[in-house]
Amino acid sequence: MAATARRIPMRFIGKRLLHAVVTIFGIAIINFFLLQLAPGDAADALAGESGTADPEYLANLRREFGLDRPLLEQLASFLMRIARLDLGYSFRYNEDIAHLIFHRLPATLLLMVTSVVLALGIGILFGVTAARYFNRLPDRLISLVALLLYATPPFWIGLMMILVFSVQLGWTPTGGMRDIAASSKGFAGVLDVARHLALPALTQAFFYLAIYTRLLRAGMLEVLNLEYIRVARAKGISERRISYVHALRNAVLPLVTVVGTNVGGFLGGAVLTETVFSWPGIGRLMFDAMFQRDLNLLLSILVLSSIFVVLANLVVDLLYAVINPTVELR
């Protein structure tokens, strides 16, 4: 059945974007102070690596990085930079941060889209099947698998998969995104990336899959007992259509919220996966930045992450209105 076409609620979006800007600045300020609480700074980290702790050298570095100025002044200049969408410079990588992030972003987005789409596709199939065969063998099997995936830490699943598929079977590389020796162009290039992507995407997807399956199964069980499902059966509609059209469209609502949260919080979850599989994405960049006390870079990634969350929430609200006609956006 076709969803009714509706006007895009521009007023609603405008209002929400305004809120978003305020929220993002709020998060940025909190992050700034939180990171100040951590001991050490970039100068310490650099000095530690180069093996000198000469006070003059340190002072020099701090002056160069602007770390010697008063805290509020540093905050003000940080906020000004965000307002101008200028993320600044990473002294660790000797690179423009914007350039650094946008260079890494596609890898993370690829991982995110692949794992969420995988998890959604399989999760919907599993959840609907489990509900249709409630308390029978398919349901028991699916529920057991979902419980196992839910209870197992993703990084452990990742390590085990490396052990089995990379080390024992040799089907996939153990990490990275591209083979240096492989061609990076055309179909061969796509295949190469896909081979590298398989394990990290599955690792990330498994965890979501467990949540989506359980959530959808519960939702479907509730909806399948409602009166309008009986009415649909009385109309002579097939069980498959009743499940995937009549019930799913209603049961999927809570799932949309959770998927939105997962997408928004993806950077946090990606840290582990990207580190285990040395996937060259934002998550690993964040991890490295943290250990190197590269506060500029870290703050920029955190701001990016908050933008992710806020945008994902906005998209969820808009989707809600599309899926559920009783929701009216104002």
């Binding site: 009714t4 009986r230 109309k235 002579g236 509609i237 006609p325």
Partner: protein, 328 residues
């Protein structure tokens, strides 16, 4: 003589997990083309379950134990969904009790009504939609083209029941099962919906199986009445005959418990109730299941469950006529 439109013969339905528990204990009903049969009885007597059996929509946990259901002489599978699907919605339509919950909140009215037509007939979407608008107009909805585009939450209970009726009639079925179609509605709306059903029946020649506990409704619209008690049909007669001379003590009790304007003035006694409650399906009870509540029960009632003898299933059918206005 042609076979009756619907013929239920000795239908038995029980609880799967309990071999002793039988909810329908041999129900037999017959409906001819174009007539209205009302099935009345208290909650839990099995009248809704009878209609769900006809649709092949027995709830989980219940099973058919015996009997046959014939539609135009052909045996219906009762539980086999794929074969029943071509009959449900196309040959037999059903209207349920709760119009507020009967429509899917996420699809438009037009889509939901058109779905029945598209499921059973090879027509284009545009043609189906045109028929939907006609149907919505036919069930008395104002501005049907607009309503077809609306979602259910914009409609009132009465309007939604009209939509459900349109849905049930979309493929011009021969039989409409109406399970308490007006119970959830305001009194004024009830009358409108019943009038609509009668009009549609007259115009389209459909037969109606009306499940209700509202005896006032039965008196107005039914050709024949079957009274059910604890999973059995205990009495069946033409409407006028049943109201004038009910023979089963249970039927008499039901009528004596029905309020009617002018009843006091006519010198009738105040409303009486039937003492006791319906026995549970798991209760072991020999003989007639109405016996514990019956004022006329004799020794034989405790040992022999009375068979249905054309009119009534009772060892001591009452024959004194109820002249309108006087109760014996």
């Amino acid at each position: 003589m042609a076979a009756p439109l619907l013929e239920i013969d000795d239908l038995r339905v029980g609880i799967r997990s309990n071999a002793a528990a039988e909810i329908l204990r041999g129900v037999s009903l017959t409906i001819e083309r174009g007539e209205t049969l009302a099935v009345v009885g208290e909650s839990g007597c099995g009248k809704s379950l009878t209609s769900l059996s006809v649709m092949g929509l027995l709830p989980d946990g219940l099973e058919k134990r015996g009997g046959t259901i014939r539609f135009e002489g052909a045996i219906l599978p009762i539980t086999d969904n794929e074969a029943m699907r071509r009959i449900r919605g196309r040959r037999i339509g059903m209207v349920f009790q709760e119009p507020m919950a009967a429509l899917n909140p996420v699809f438009t009215i037009g889509d939901q009504v058109a779905e029945v037509i598209l499921e059973h007939e090879a027509v284009s979407r545009a043609d189906a939609m045109a028929r939907v608008v006609d149907l919505l107009a036919r069930v008395g909805l104002p501005d049907p083209a607009q309503i077809a585009r609306e979602h259910p939450h914009r409609l009132s209970g009465g309007q939604r029941q009209r939509v459900v009726i349109a849905m049930a009639l979309a493929c011009r079925p021969d039989l409409l099962i109406a399970d308490e179609p007006t119970t959830a509605l305001d009194v004024t709306v009830q009358a409108q919906i019943m009038r609509l059903l009668q009009e549609l029946q007259r115009d389209l020649g459909i037969a109606i199986l009306l499940i209700t506990h509202n005896l006032g409704l039965v008196a107005q619209v039914a050709d024949r009445v079957a009274v059910m008690y604890a999973g059995r049909k205990v009495e069946e007669a033409a409407t006028a005959g049943l109201f004038a001379a009910p023979q089963h003590p249970y039927t008499r009790g039901l009528l004596a418990a029905t309020p009617r304007p002018g009843r006091r003035r006519a010198g009738e006694p105040p409303l009486t109730e039937i003492p006791g409650v319906v026995p549970s399906v798991t209760e072991l009870l020999s003989g007639c299941r109405f016996r514990p509540r019956c004022a006329f029960a004799g020794d034989v009632c405790a040992s022999v469950d009375p068979a249905f003898g054309g009119r009534v299933a009772c060892h001591f059918p009452q024959t004194v006529e109820l002249v309108p206005g006087v109760v014996t």
